[in-house]
Amino acid sequence: MRQTTSRVTTLGTAILAAGVMGFAPDVAWAADAKLNGGNTAWILTATALVLFMTLPGLALFYGGLVQSKNVLSVFMHCFTIACLASVLWLFGVYSLAFDDGGATNAVIGGLGKAFLSGVSFETLSGDIPESLFFMFQMTFAIITPALIVGAYPERMRFSAVLWFSALWLIFVYAPVCHWVWGGGWLAEMGVFDFAGGLVVHATAGVSALVLVKMLGNRQGFPTHLHPPHSPGLTMAGAAMLWVGWFGFNGGSALAAGGSAAMAITVTHLSAATASLVWVFIEWKKFGKPSLVGIVTGTIAGLATITPASGFVGPIGGICIGLAGGFICYYAVGLVKEIWKLDDSLDVFAVHGVGGILGTLLVAVFAAEGLGGAGFGEDGTMGGQFVTQVIGVVATVAWSGVATLVICKVAGALGGGLRANDDEITEGLDLSYHGERDYNF
């Protein structure tokens, strides 16, 4: 099993490679593909696990970090984005990401599969039902805009959140997903992104930064902030994210086999390692290792291993966890203290930096000598690294520029991006949603 490029040559490897690349081989072509029950069972499960990451995982993770007067608004953001992304995914975004785009296939897919047109109960994608592939990928399209919620809590207008997320899904997520997993130009170049270092984490992280720049910081940032209102909620969310990530990375193999197994192994090891790194940095610097700290390390380790998870072995998992823990830790300080950007819950520092770092490191740790899956027949570490750098640069550039435009449009459509001061002071829970949590 050496699944290292997206250039598919035989049916056997096609299905495996589909796993690696998240790429759905043309079913008509794979004429005698048959449904595989074990793989279908695993991807059904993985789909549930990835949905669980957003609802309630990410919602609780983020909700615990804000003030108690804004916790419901964070939950509302995550929940509504999940619903909106699901519907848009059916209406055309899935098709843009995964359908054949014909002449423009290098940059974007077609609309032939909008509304799942032509997909019936029996249609397969590889050896699993295409409706399942659609659903599994949908859960990624749900969590990615929801990750950006961490950039703008406690101050963004609800209608602007909806416009922003919808536009972002169409104009950032769909194309980058197509480039990398849908047979676009980065897939053609053979970029490695097992489960979304570029597609999920780099896009969300970079866009978070741009959005914060447009939206402005929270009142009182950086000197007069309120501490997380419930680290325990955040822990519960982080734990759910960790468990769900087995579906995220393990499911990206699209099969219940050695690739999925090794993916969850390295995912877990990276998460554990990065968590411990964070604990020990805090212990050394402040004398007090914190719960918020350790779980941030967990997420950093998970984000960093994501692009590498199907390509590296256990040693790679540990090393990537070490790197993710250290570098994301310092990135948090860089963004908030040096750049003075209130990326409130550290979307860029944890997801953006982690995703980019993992995308680069996979070019090292995929080496067979380091226990990885290798670089394919004629691949080399150097060549792969160049490809990875190109992937990062393209993803960062497109996410940044497109988000800038989307912010303008979403602001215009949503009556401005930012809530007014009274709404913010009262708390978004009451001002936008007319509710409050914790009525003891």
Partner: protein, 112 residues
């Protein structure tokens, strides 16, 4: 009758309650509060960023006592609650015009 209102550190509550029980105090009311004072608030660190907690958790005791018990009550609280560290809190004494026990309708010192 006097109202003794004391702002103390939360973890001193048990000690203060015991000291007052020894004095024969039969009732008091406690509520959670947050204090702002010379203690200046703790600093908590989350993800490397310092959060200045302006308000420090305190417990507030209110108890109404007979005039001639006031001094011993104040002294007992002060003894039990002080840790000699900044932020130990305050004791205030206010005049009470009337008291009533809801259960019986008794008033004055009988109500305490």
């Amino acid at each position: 009758m006097k109202l003794v209102m004391a702002i103390i550190k939360p973890f001193k509550l048990d000690a203060v309650r015991e000291a007052l029980t020894e004095l024969g105090i039969q009732g008091l009311t406690v509520s959670e509060a947050k204090g702002f004072g010379r203690q200046k608030g703790q600093t908590e660190i989350y993800r490397g960023a310092e959060y200045v907690i302006d308000f420090v958790p305190k417990v507030r005791l209110d108890l109404v006592v007979d005039d001639d018990q006031v001094d011993s009550v104040v002294e007992a609280i002060q003894q039990a609650a002080h840790s000699d560290k900044i932020g130990d809190g305050k004791i205030f004494v206010l005049e009470v015009a009337q008291a009533m026990r809801i259960r019986t309708g008794e008033t004055g010192n009988d109500a305490l």
